[in-house]
């Protein structure tokens, strides 16, 4: 894998972590969890 591809994969991993965090935060406030 090239440096460029490593950079892209690293950014995607960070983005996935951001979305998991966001989803968990919002889901814990949803009507279904009450």
């Amino acid at each position: 894998m090239t440096t460029e591809q490593n950079k892209i994969m690293g950014a995607l991993k960070t983005a996935i972590d951001i979305e998991k965090d966001g989803k968990e935060r919002q889901s814990n406030s949803s009507p279904e969890k009450r």
Partner: protein, 156 residues
Amino acid sequence: MAKNDNLTAVQKSDNEAGRKLLHSLALEEDTHLKKLEEIYHSIQNKMGWPAVAFEPDKGKSLRELFVGACKVTGVSVKGSSTEVDAINTAIGKEKESYDFYEQQSKDATYETERAFYEAVAAEEREHEIILVHYYEYLTDPVDWFTRVERHSLDAG
């Protein structure tokens, strides 16, 4: 923040507008997550950025749902200080996400990569704006309704 602590107040709230809004935001974050995982696995297998179908509605349905729920609840909404603080924190998190995706779009190698990150950044911006509206609605509902009646929520 500790991931879930501050939003406990929102979770326990009887505020339907807030719970509906946050549930919808969670669904959109889930769509982002699925697309990102799809791209990640595609790059792992094919070593290139795939074409991804991702066409957000620019917050239209989110705004309609939110305004509708606020109209039902009206000006008698009650938000605890903890709930208001939690929304404020969530606004900060959405801004951080927007900044990250905006930077990724600028650093993108592929055109499809740039377009994808731009679309996600735009949606995160919509989340931030709608949460600011929710914050304003909770803290001063009369003023918020006055402003919404004067200007469309589309004006941001």
